[in-house]
Symmetry: C2
Subunit: 582 residues, 2 copies
């Protein structure tokens, strides 16, 4: 069945419900990057599989708002009934306000539109006398044929020794903060915060070990989870309810002080709190920061986890170098092989995102994903870029290398070397602790700018601890004003791309730590935790200064020393050569 | 007469006027950094001479709000009747709201409080039922004994060939923009914009060749100036009125579209426009940017002007090196001597700000200013920092050097070298043209951060063209989000300070220009226009990389080549040695 048939079915549902427009976000009620199949409503309706977007469907138009990363992809995936508009902040609200008329009605699922979007939307449409019809039933669900079954299992148990602080102590710290702020309750709507606080993980998603649920923390210490899981107790003693019961549960907070995060909180929760005259507090950011900080015990796990990951990568690169000229290897084959090497480790759970394995010009497509049936055979003459990661019981990894199987032009070698300079710059950067993400981003790009080069993506994103491979707020990008904190884990991934030609990206993960030479504790620096060699044949030593050469040689020596005892003799010998001093 | 006597007189005036509090800003009605003596009301009332501050005087309290640069100075200058509070944005409004009660009255001079401050103040006090009493007479003026006479002469004429575009064409461009935005009038309240638009300059201030006046531009091309100058016509054909007549003049814009800049516009103008139901537009930023861009002809003048300035500096440093051990030279003597060397140039008008000539620990006081009677004798054993500049018919200069007259410790030499590295980094930086001021600032500081070093001031400020030595919006600092534009002139002035020990600052001016290697015009870089040697005896070559050494040697060669023909034989020989390759 084609998507436009769904659209006409959907418009019938619109009419039946007396609606003139419907808002359907790509995300589920948790607002995350990854959505379970049974909540992939936008994909069902439109065919779009990008990780960010929101659709506005009227009786005449169907618009997909999505960001620059997915414009091309959307054009391929959507049929002609759809228009594709650039998404920035909540600009779909402006479109709705401009294109609807007084007396018309808008509908949406209040579990899917956030409180902040709802606030802006209702302010704007009120001026034009456009009405919002609040109805809990989701219109897409009404026409969704063969919707995947909603299944949510109990969270998987982690041993306590994976965590620096047990859940009880974390909850007590939180309760103390709530008391300081005179809060009666906190409604946590971000699964990474729920997982962090309770030391639990889930297995609903393919790449992210979130347990998907909302958590209500009350000042007396009561904890109630609201999820799609139908068991009564989680981890033995935590009460669990079906998510839709949350609305009714909130009635008890009449006139009370309740904190939410309105950028993430479903509007249904916000509206209920307003309805019962709760005092809604939106600036309680305690968990926002805490949940991204890794403590010593966890950092030790993260270091070990990255050594395991490095072993898989060494085995993979050894295998591909030794086979690429003997047999045809597709991008998809390569990504499967790497997954299998990772899976040899006992702590491995799953990949942390779909592997980007890209030969030649595919490397220039930043969110490329090889298709099992249609992916290209890796061209030994061209650069090969592979960006992948794993979820392990003891951490989350994310690493990119760009390699060559034959001699490359001096221009390609120089491009690679400049990207490496940017990578090294960030790896050994010392920064004032109040430096903002956009400042650190600019410092990293300096070596590229000098050559008139740049890359059209961020330099670094936060990474969870066996949680999301993209964890916020820590971000190093040109729009980031966040400051970094000791114990946060980020990616260091500068790149350079020539569309339709090639892509170069070099990514390790880095931990924020105190700079020891700092007299007054004013400076931070990073520790690189990923261990995988860079491609020496792609490095022009003349373009590196002494300190950069020193960093590279030290790093390569560390790669060899950390990995050697886990490698077979052949691979070890091969890696010794790969990591020799330049 | 002591300041507290003025304060009791002032409180009598408060009572007579039935006021409970009065707001007295440091600035005059133009909001500038430099204020004529006859408008220095805060100085009269309190004794405070800093360049930023605002006083709130109630019947019981007298508070000076000022920023971190002036806290120490204020403590010295103010007597015990005054409290000193840190100033950030408009926090004095919070104080007023918190400390006054319902039914009480606030007064201020509506020419001195800006529209944006007025808007915030009136919103906040309304909630507490505190009243604003609008009265045009200034309360300080009522008690000001021996107030300096208000004198404003006609603007001085500049020859047309100093400007790239004549005033008529600039006005026509402006009128075209106004038409696009459907504006009936624009009220320009920033003197630098008035001077830029009309190609006029004034001589009211000691360091800044502003003609102080407001300009009303009407869509039919009518131009009316409102100033404290009592002549009828300026530059022959521009009508000039006494400033207070502006309020009455605005009556003609009833129901019209009028643009202002409410951060700078006196509240009296804003209130009048509101009163006559004019539609007030606050986002017309055409002049904001245009007035800071120097075009080719002006850039040629700026380059020549900086060579003249470099000649004065070479003569000065030759003189001080040859005399410092023979005679006692005070900081003040040095600043006078430098002024005299500058004055030898026929285009010299005046200094562009009070020279900071600072020996030893005085160098660590960022806004130090040697007093004629009390300044220190320059200690030949210690570092000497001199930050100075000139106003010339063909440009404005601002330059800082830190020099030594005897051998310094290796630690001092290293500190100097790291500051020089930061300076060179910015001088030769290539940056993406949308990079923001805080990003460029961070890049500059990297070499210092690596050593746990930093400086507590911005890296660069805009500089006018025979106008203010501080010109906005271009700024390179940790809080700046402005982007730079081709033709803007900025300072490059990293530093390092150890309080009570020494200060190091190295400052040149740099012009923003296109980076020629940029394929797609996406990158900008700088051209250094200041020419003065750095202190080779304070440079540890081992800490510089090859590119830095190269930059320094090239720069020194340029200094010698540009200045040599204007120097006496002795100074030329001395400079040859000062600029020899390291």
């Amino acid at each position: 069945m084609k998507q436009n048939t769904y659209l006409s079915k959907f418009r019938n549902a619109l009419k039946l419900n007396n609606l003139d427009a419907y808002i359907q976000p790509r995300s589920d009620m948790y607002g995350g990057e990854e959505v379970p199949d049974y909540d992939a409503r936008l994909k069902f309706l439109s065919g779009f599989t990008g990780s960010a977007g929101i659709a506005v469907i009227t009786l005449k138009k169907a618009i997909l708002f999505t960001d620059g990363r997915y414009t091309l992809q959307a054009k391929v995936q959507l049929n002609k009934s759809w228009e594709i508009h650039p998404l920035h902040s909540n600009n779909w609200i402006d479109w709705v306000t401009d294109h609807l008329n007084a007396g018309q009605n808008i509908g949406f699922d209040p579990w899917l539109v956030t409180a902040s979007a709802f606030q802006k939307l209702s302010e704007q449409v009120k001026i034009k006398d456009i009405a919002i019809k609040l109805d809990k039933k989701n219109l897409v669900d009404q026409i969704w044929i063969n919707r995947p079954k909603i299944t949510q299992k109990e969270p998987v148990r982690w041993k306590d020794n994976y965590f620096a602080v047990n859940a009880k102590n974390k909850v007590n710290d939180l309760l103390a903060e709530m008391q300081l702020r005179d809060l009666d309750a906190l409604i946590i709507t971000q699964p990474n915060q729920v997982c962090w606080l309770l030391n639990i993980r889930g297995n609903n998603l393919k790449y992210t070990p979130f347990f998907l649920g909302f958590l209500v923390v009350e000042k007396n210490g009561d904890l109630n989870i609201f999820s799609q899981c139908d068991i009564k107790y989680i981890k033995g003693n935590l009460r669990n309810h079906l998510f839709y019961k949350l609305e009714q549960y909130l009635s008890k907070f009449k006139n009370k002080n309740v904190a939410i995060n309105n950028k993430n909180c479903p509007s249904i929760i916000y509206n209920k709190l307003k309805h019962i005259s709760a005092k809604v507090e939106n600036s309680f950011s305690f968990l926002q920061e805490k949940a991204t900080i890794k403590h010593n015990k966890e950092i030790q796990h993260i270091r070990r986890c990255h050594i395991s990951d490095g072993v898989a990568l060494a085995n993979f690169f050894y295998w591909i170098e030794n086979n690429i000229k003997k047999q045809k290897i597709t991008e998809y084959d390569a990504s499967e092989k790497l997954k299998n090497f990772r899976a040899e480790n006992k702590n491995f759970i799953c990949e942390s995102f779909p592997t980007i394995a890209a030969t030649g010009s595919n490397g220039a497509i930043i969110h490329y994903r090889p298709d099992e049936k249609k992916s290209k055979i890796i061209d030994t003459k061209k650069l090969f870029l592979i960006d992948s990661g794993g979820q392990y019981l003891n951490g989350t990894t994310d690493i990119t290398r760009t390699v060559a199987f034959e001699k490359q032009s001096s221009q390609i070698i120089n491009y690679y070397t400049y990207v490496l300079k940017a990578h090294i710059c960030l790896a050994k950067l010392v920064f004032r602790k109040d430096a903002r993400g956009n400042e650190i981003d600019a410092i990293t790009r300096k070596a590229l700018w000098e050559q008139g080069m740049d890359y059209n993506h961020g330099t670094g994103h936060g990474v969870g601890y066996c949680l999301g491979v993209h964890e916020f707020p820590p971000t190093i990008s040109k729009t980031s004003d966040s400051v970094l904190m000791i114990g946060q884990l980020l990616s260091n991934e500068p790149g350079f791309y020539i569309p339709r030609k090639f892509g170069i990206r070099l990514e390790n993960l880095i931990l924020v730590k105190k700079f020891s030479n700092s007299i007054n504790n004013k400076f931070f620096c990073f520790e690189t935790v990923s261990f995988c060699h860079f491609e020496n044949t792609l490095i022009n030593k003349d373009l590196l200064d002494n300190k950069e050469v020193h960093w590279l040689n030290d790093y390569h020596e560390a790669v060899f020393q950390k990995l050697k005892k886990f490698l077979s003799q052949d691979v070890r010998k091969w890696l010794r050569n790969k990591t020799k001093k330049i």
